[in-house]
Amino acid sequence: MNTQAENTTGTRLGREELAALVAADIKAGSFVNLGIGQPTLVSNYLRPEQAVTLHTENGMLGMGPEAHGDEIDPDLINAGKIPVTEMPGASYFHHADSFAMMRGGHLDVCVLGAFQVSATGDLANWHTGAPDAIPAVGGAMDLATGAKEVYVMMGLFAKDGSSKLVEACTYPLTGVGCVTRIYTNDAVFLITADGVRVRETFGTTLAELRERIPVPLEMAAVG
């Protein structure tokens, strides 16, 4: 909430700036799962004093940074199958316990990529729906369903210029009404019971967003 006082900054955020913004928004002491891909970048911007504990769904709390050189241990990998390291206070557990931790609502935040998010927080991020695509879901549905807060990081517009924030998803759903925030390079959106709120914009305006996004938008109350 520390960014709410200034609702618009001059330029569109870069990939790294966006990751830094998400990291700064995570409350101290949180337990967090970062999805594969862009969300993984967030870990580079978490400050030690935030004391954030990272969960990886293949059975670990207290995951450290990616392993390099001699640190690499084939028995210690993250959900993206990348070798990682162990932080003090880590713990290991089996897959049922790991997903129980997620499904049971014990993670504070999960950060995921997305193809589309609807105005009511429906998430589509696992399947293009193309008739010849071989589907693969992994832990996407479990992550979307389980965490207390689901933050999506995505580009706001698809390659054809269409909005990925939509009235209703056209891609197959990952979860219903699960997304609470959307972080994009152009703006941060809050999904609330009263509709979608724009928390801040980066190099664009509410009016411009309203033109391109087929969802009613209001600025969030500055608190």
């Binding site: 059975g59 162990e86 089996h94 997903f99 879901v137 389980g146 219903v176």
Partner: protein, 230 residues
Amino acid sequence: MPTIASSAAEAVAGIRDNSTVLIGGFGNAGQPMELIDALLECGATGLTVVNNNAGQADAGLALLIKERRVRKIICSFPRQSDSWHFDAAYRAGEIELELVPQGNLAERIRAAGAGIGGFFTPTGYGTMLAEGKETRIIDGRGHVFETPIHADYALVKAHIADRAGNLLYRKTARNFGPIMAAAATASIVQVGTIVDTGALDPENIVTPGIYVNTIVQIGAGAPAEHEAQQ
């Protein structure tokens, strides 16, 4: 008391055609590669395999699929950059796929071992993976009914076993091993080290020996810095 087999081939020799086989591992961590190779060698076919993935590159489960030994696969993430043997079999209509969200997969395996007849989970509700399944609103939230995945065999890789079959795992190689060992009628476990009964601290056992039927020691196993404590 588990049987201690002298080779991976001996350990899997009893696996019959048309069996359901749980195979542990997530990526290479915890993957019982030598047992899978032995299963390929032993020739059993018509298998239903349960694994997180559907084989990678030209090894292990991918070869079982390439050889058309797998009639059906139950998994969460079949399509990968190097899942070409699964992709080919699937596009040819020569393998049946049951796609399950990873946490539902784990919980269904756990349910089988725990004697639970079925459970309602919020994961997957409202998605195409819930189509045709019973649903129920519980405390205002949609849930899907999921059933246990029982199996004839489990192939598991652990780190250390004692002669009573108690198992320790190593780091994220633990993953599906403990729940698969409990869900199968017969669990076949490859380990790096077998120690005498009594050498492991009873507080730290992850899989109690009651869930283990066959143990085979393979090679030097995993790095040895995590030694048995007592």
